[in-house]
Amino acid sequence: MDERRRVVLRGAGATGALAAALAAGLLKPERVLAATWDENAFRKKDVADALKIIGADDAVASKEVVLDVPEIAENGAVVPVEITSHVPGTTSIAVVIDKNPFPLTSRFDFMEGALPYVKLNVKMGQSSNIRVIAEAGGKHYVAMREVKVTIGGCGG
């Protein structure tokens, strides 16, 4: 009994210490946990916060970013999204759904050889704007379209 209690206490202490270190900014979560998954941005529930973290809060509307989505999606569980960026030097594309519980859905980084194009299927909980943000030379360009959802897709 006592031994188990020790283990629990030790575990709680360690977790507490880690949380404190994180809070103090001693550990940068994005570096420690995974350099490859921007947990901080993906966990944001507010679209403005998510955009800020990915540096896209000052994105300029651009016709060079082509976003192809259905006007009406009968099934929110599978909404096709096709994106092409004609902005020269595009290095990444992020897909944000304003009214989803976690607005940032994905981010694609394009290296030498890849065309700034991606097609994917996303889930939408309800009718919402979808915005895609292309990054080129440190600047952000955005295209936005509204998709009306008949049956929400966040139930899986």
Partner: protein, 102 residues
């Protein structure tokens, strides 16, 4: 257990079209089954390589549809180029497969 994964890579003149199908539940962590929340289980990272060189790196959330399908494009390309795609999910499970450009 990761299910099957399929890649189709086709030369389309000036570019190569790469399509991939992954088997994954992509659980949001918000869905309930029998009154209990089903824990989040989704692909977080995808890497696309052509002839061993990384061309696309993706970060994904639980908002990607179940059994994800993606299409990517790379400049030029030749028949027989090897396309390799791999994923890692939030539980540390992973899968990868490869296919030659046709």
């Amino acid at each position: 257990m990761p299910g099957p994964m399929k890649i189709r890579a086709t030369l389309k003149g000036s570019y190569t079209d790469i399509r991939v199908l992954m088997s994954h539940p992509m659980e949001t962590g918000l869905r309930k089954a029998q009154g209990k929340l089903v824990p989040a289980h989704f692909i977080e990272n995808i890497t696309v390589k052509v002839n061993g060189k990384t061309v696309v790196k993706a970060q994904t959330s639980q908002a990607i549809s179940r059994n994800p399908v993606f299409a990517f494009r790379v400049k030029g390309g030749n028949k027989g180029d090897m396309v390799e795609i791999g994923w890692v999910d939030n539980k540390g499970e992973s899968n990868k497969t490869e296919a030659a450009v046709a």
